[in-house]
């Protein structure tokens, strides 16, 4: 006995002696702040900078439970192009590095499962002293499968508000959060290299009343000097209005900037884009203005499905419905089924339309947002590539043979399977250089777009005097000086708007099928309308428009070996397009959707790699046309913008 307490005393003294020695390694000042002035900027945004704004690491309560043992540092190294060893042992690397990354660990119980796992068993048994927590602790240590089961129980408990009190102590959690957050911010500054790689601070606010997904990713423009002045805002038991107030106060207090990005509106059962305020009361102009300011961008495509639109809402859009299967059934944990009356509040296109209606009533459009894609990967690995898919979480990594056909953990009982997962998307930001300020500002002015994984370069400029002759000169300069880019607003001047539209294929990917303009507007009766125009497509000499739409581009995918050829489609599609259905005084938005030729999705790559057959319904969904969605350009009636 005597020896043991001597050892312990030694450890304690060591701990005290060392506490004073910990200190941060010096970081280059240009890496620490917003990056303004750190590099030379182009005159106009010069290329899309590619990133993922939605990545979870071992600091996320669920990701750790699902088994991930890679932390934020590995996540940053992977995103900037280095090879890392994934949790399950295989080497993972991106074929092409990303330009920026937002690590968005859940603010609730930040680091809690990792701390629980790391704690000695006697501490869990004696100090925490909760049977359930001890059982989870033992399960987490027993095996990866048991760990996933434990975290399944924890998520269910959280959704039902039954988290053991010992784990939900707000004060203890706040202390742990502050510690993890501050260390995290220091590391982001170390990895932030203006001009090469941008590491933005952020977290996920994870509110889900009754399992209806209202999650937002919060993203900051600033370095640790500002972001360390506040800790991540908890999602459980708070409303989104509280989050906005918190972010507003962050901006007031620190002089910094923050924004929130809603995601998985497809799993919100109509609550993400309501016609009312959050509490069901009538929406006010103040509410609409606050929302528009705090949420300029929505994440419309990611691993858990695509939220652009639903075939029910857009029956005349034959390309609608990408990434909808499985996810359309219900809310996040599939505790409440989705019914068609909920769709309009769950999908981005209908939300943009609702925004026009609300603007007509309130004078402010709460849903004037741009669009991005991201991954929502819980493996610390930010990859949205079909042939390099590392799974939604660590239980479904690259070397798991069963992952495509197995039921997955969210709503297992009612028919969501592994193959319903998309490989995830990316966010493209039109910026003048790769710094925190430039990337953030592109989001703030909505000059961003979504892709479902491929890195196609898409531009749209709206104006009133563009002509086909602009393509012969410096059309980018023309676009910026005589019009507005995606995310911008035009004021109705009595003539139809004209758009310069260019889509360049992913240099290492598939050719392009077509570019479309999606127009939404309020008609003379104040009703919302939408229409999809095919504006430019490949092989125009042979592909005709028929009564049932444009002749399909074809399909070169070999289902036996998961390959395709670029014998069809185009390297670039360009056009000058004038709205043929313009009516003066109309309130409208226009965004571009670009489609690739059909290519294999990740389940087909898996089936070939492991040598098995996909089920019939999985096979029917194993080839798809990947796509990009730009942020809209809004056309506003002259009165709406008058002072």
């Amino acid at each position: 006995m005597r020896n043991s307490w001597k050892t312990a005393a030694t450890a304690s003294v060591l701990a005290i002696a060392l506490a004073g020695c910990e200190s941060e390694v010096a970081v280059d000042p240009s890496q620490q702040g917003t990056g303004e002035g750190a590099i030379e900027l182009a005159e106009f945004p010069d290329r899309p900078y590619w990133g993922d704004t939605h990545l979870h690491t071992d600091n996320s309560v669920d990701a750790f439970g699902f088994g991930v043992r890679l932390g934020p540092e590995a996540a940053l190294r992977f995103a900037r192009g280095e090879s890392v060893t994934a949790t399950t042992g295989a080497e993972a690397q991106l074929a092409r590095p990303l330009d920026f990354l937002v690590i968005s660990d859940h603010s609730d119980a930040l680091g809690a499962t990792r701390r629980l796992y790391d704690a000695p068993r006697w501490y869990v048994n004696w100090v925490i002293g909760d049977e359930t927590v001890l059982r989870w602790y033992d399960m987490m240590h027993e095996s990866p499968e048991q760990s996933q089961r434990a975290i399944g129980e924890l998520i269910t408990a959280a959704a039902n508000g039954e988290v053991p009190e010992a784990m939900a102590d707000p004060e203890a959690a706040a202390e742990a959060t502050e510690e993890i957050w501050n260390a995290h911010l220091q590391m982001l500054d170390r990895y932030n290299e203006p001009g090469t790689f941008t590491a933005l601070a952020g977290y996920e606010w994870t509110a889900m009343p009754d399992g209806n997904n209202l999650h937002r990713v919060v993203m900051f423009r600033d370095g640790a000097d500002r972001t360390s002045q506040m800790v991540p805002f908890p999602g459980l038991n708070t409303a989104v209005d509280d989050l906005w107030a918190h972010l507003d106060s962050y901006e007031q207090t620190t002089g910094g900037r923050a924004l929130a990005i809603p995601h998985n509106s497809n799993l919100s059962n109509g609550l993400m884009f309501e016609m009312t305020a959050t509490d069901g009361s009538e929406m006010t102009a103040e509410y609409a203005a606050m929302r528009a300011r705090m949420e300029p961008v929505v994440e419309v495509t990611q691993i858990k499905g695509d939220s652009e639109t639903h075939p029910f809402l857009s029956p005349n859009d034959e390309m609608a419905g990408f990434g909808v299967k499985g996810w359309e059934l219900g809310n996040l944990p599939l505790t409440i089924d989705t019914t068609p009356d909920m769709y309009a509040g769950s999908y981005a296109r209908s939300a943009l339309l609702r925004g026009l209606s609300l603007e007509a009533q309130l004078g402010v459009n709460p849903y004037a947002f741009g669009m991005i894609g991201s991954t929502d990967s819980h493996t610390s690995l930010a990859t949205g590539d079909e042939d390099n898919f590392w799974g939604k979480h660590t239980g479904l990594e690259f070397n798991n043979e069963d992952r495509a056909m197995a039921p997955q953990n969210l709503g297992t009982r009612v028919g969501r399977f592994g193959w319903h997962y998309l490989a995830g998307g990316y966010a493209a930001a039109w910026a003048r250089g790769n710094t925190r300020a430039e990337i953030f500002d592109a989001f703030a002015r909505r000059e961003v777009y979504a892709t479902t994984g491929p890195r196609m370069t898409v531009r749209i400029f709206g104006g009133f005097d563009f002509t086909a002759a602009d393509w012969d000169g410096d059309w980018v300069r023309a676009g910026y000086t005589r019009g507005v880019p995606m995310g911008g607003e035009l004021t109705d001047g009595g003539s139809a708007p004209t758009f310069l539209i260019s889509a360049l294929k992913d240099p290492d990917g598939a050719n392009l099928d077509r570019a479309q303009v999606v127009k939404g507007w309020l008609d003379a009766n104040g009703e919302v309308q939408e229409r999809v125009y095919d504006v430019v497509w490949s092989d125009a000499a042979t592909r005709r428009r028929t009564g049932s739409g444009l002749t399909p581009v074809g399909d070169t995918v070999n289902r036996e070996d998961a390959t395709y050829t670029n014998d069809i489609g185009a390297a670039e599609l360009r056009t000058t397009w004038t709205d043929p259905d313009y009516a003066e005084g109309q309130s409208a938005f226009y965004y571009v959707r670009v489609l690739e030729i059909p290519t294999p999705r990740w389940p087909l790559f898996d089936a070939v790699r492991f040598g098995y057959q996909l089920s019939e319904d999985a096979m029917a969904d194993a080839v798809a046309q990947e796509r990009a969605y730009t942020s809209p350009i809004w056309l506003k009636p002259a009165r709406a913008t008058a002072p």
């Binding site: 312990a8 100090v127 390297a571």
Partner: protein, 261 residues
């Protein structure tokens, strides 16, 4: 950092720490002595607890909250000491790892905070010069053609490419940037070419074919001033590894290890 060399030696740190431990164990009486059954929460401790609360919640605790926090402190202290008394720290893999990590840290803490002099860093930079050669920067013009034949047809004559939204001229960019914009296939083709004034190619890309005038390619030499930050980071990691190894070697020497083979 003006401490003499001996004061930076890990062995000296261990001896000093050992002395502190001896003093503590001999006189005891501190709140950390697990043998004691007295837990005193004096004014100083209470101020600490209140400060901890304030740092987290952004305001001073109310009396009730302070009482609560003290109660929690006492609970943790009691259970901690009882756990030690029962030897629960023994044979616990996590405790073991923590203590091992702390020993490593005690050896390397000085390296974490040391401010290396300019000459130390310059010497390190010279020794590891290979690590500080910048990525090669390339400058070129390119003309785009939909087919190989149409590209070859104009080679040697006036080169005018077709329309595509790619830069016609690239000035001093890294290959990483070239790969992002033109793709991997083009980057591979480009690295096969030698710089010169003539149009070369065609080389293939995901878009089609390109004639290229590669005007310049050179490794950007990284001046010490430009990479000072990286040199310092690298020097620090090297120091940490070195100190860990040396400290361990000193301790290891005191053991006789018998391994049955």
């Amino acid at each position: 950092m003006t401490l003499p060399a001996w004061a930076r030696e890990p062995l000296v740190h261990f001896i000093a720490l050992g002395a502190v431990v001896y003093v503590v164990l001999t006189w005891g009486g501190t709140e950390l002595d697990p043998a004691s059954r007295v837990i005193s929460v004096g004014e100083e401790e209470q101020a600490q607890i209140a400060l901890g609360f304030e740092r987290v919640m952004g305001r001073a605790p109310t009396d009730a909250e302070l009482d609560n926090a003290i109660e929690r402190y006492v609970r943790e202290e009691v259970l901690y000491r009882e756990a030690l008394r029962l030897g629960l720290d023994q044979g616990d893999a996590v405790v073991r790892q923590r203590m091992v990590a702390k020993m490593d840290m005690s050896a390397t803490a000085a390296a974490e905070t040391a401010e290396p002099s300019e000459s130390v860093l310059r010497a390190f930079y010279d020794e590891n010069a290979d690590n500080y050669v910048g990525a090669p920067l390339v400058s070129f013009e390119q003309a785009f053609f939909a087919s190989r034949a149409s590209a070859e047809a104009v080679l040697g004559g006036e080169v005018r490419g077709g329309a595509i939204s790619l830069p016609a001229k690239v000035d001093g960019e890294t290959m990483r940037e070239v790969t992002t914009v033109f793709g991997e296939q083009f980057a591979r083709g480009l690295s096969q070419l030698e710089p010169g004034e003539e149009w070369q190619g065609p080389i293939a890309s995901g878009f089609g074919w390109h004639l290229v005038r590669l005007t310049d390619r050179q490794p950007a030499p990284a001046a010490f001033e430009d990479v000072r930050e990286r040199v310092e980071n690298d020097w620090r990691s090297a120091q940490i590894e070195d100190r860990k190894a040396r400290a361990f070697a000193i301790l290891r020497d005191a053991y006789r290890v018998e391994i049955d083979r």
